[in-house]
Point group: C2
Chain length 218, copies 2
Amino acid sequence: MTGRQEGLIVELEYILPGDIEKRSFEIIDAELEQRGIHLPKEQRDVTMRVIHTSADFDYAKTMTYSKHAVETARKLIREGADVVTDTNMALAGINKKKLAEFGGQAHCFMAEEEIAREAKKRQLTRAAVSMEHAARIPKPVIFAIGNAPTALVSLYELMQNRGWRPAFVIGVPVGFVNVEAAKELILKTDLPYIVNRGRKGGSNVAAAIVNALLYGMI
Amino acid sequence: MTGRQEGLIVELEYILPGDIEKRSFEIIDAELEQRGIHLPKEQRDVTMRVIHTSADFDYAKTMTYSKHAVETARKLIREGADVVTDTNMALAGINKKKLAEFGGQAHCFMAEEEIAREAKKRQLTRAAVSMEHAARIPKPVIFAIGNAPTALVSLYELMQNRGWRPAFVIGVPVGFVNVEAAKELILKTDLPYIVNRGRKGGSNVAAAIVNALLYGMI
């Protein structure tokens, strides 16, 4: 690498490709320690991978888990649950091969023409309509919402109005309009969930959570 | 929406789907003002969309542009430049339809078997090898790097060792190992660039930057 010769302010460290992730987690671990943050054991894998994907230690304070959430989600995956996301970015980021080892499939219905048509007609977001669509999947589904708060509101309304229940909700939409309120809706339910309170989140965070669940499977 | 009846701490605001983005940008604008941050006019579209995609105002301080970077990138797109990214997540997030209107294509070579094979053999990251692959595209290319610092190092080394030049670099990898140093490498060149200094960035940020460039095209 050319870094050293060129007198970089921050020097490049020589590291083998296979060791980058391990080294990253060591750094995150050390910095959590420095900040006096002790993550509950069950939540460590997931919160640390979210920090790894965002380089943002705020998540250590805002990631919120229902009781035994990680265990519950892994049990669902082990039993073949599907994953539904609200963006094709999250879908691209999820390790679908690993999920398939347990019999699960990942879906995103956002780009389907039928969804767009119905959303336009009903003045709803495509995310909201695609949740209704996903609610018809005849097996347990983990919803991984990284973008649209309206997707979370839609899940909540399906519960209230139709007595339907999602198996698990990963609620990490990002943004400025209704994002915090939509997350609080999910926190009020008795669903198993992993939610990042506040405005932050994203498709990358949603995918990171699903992958952390998968990578920690025994 | 059910929010109001349920006595939410943060209430849901009723808003038409088409107005959510506009309202989000108004909030970002107002909060930048409150924080006393005045973004240079040419950079506003891009930095604001990055904040929109991350809900993180840190980007207002760390986003770094070469002189007339936005104008330069838009000129390249207008002339049909391709975009190469280092993740399939960023590829999924880029508005490829809009890019195609100007004759450009978006690529990600990370998942190709040939890349994986060569990376393993040479003890390099797949990202580094896929940059070498992309350097053979016989037209101007905007590199949008949201994940792998080794992709930026690879671009730099191709410049040093082979006299090749990328047309433009969006350098926003995220992480803890060599991320800051790799970004500083790009800042030292005379390339046109948009870089987020520090550890933060991501595939979502890379896609947001490309989309902000596209959406601001006249």
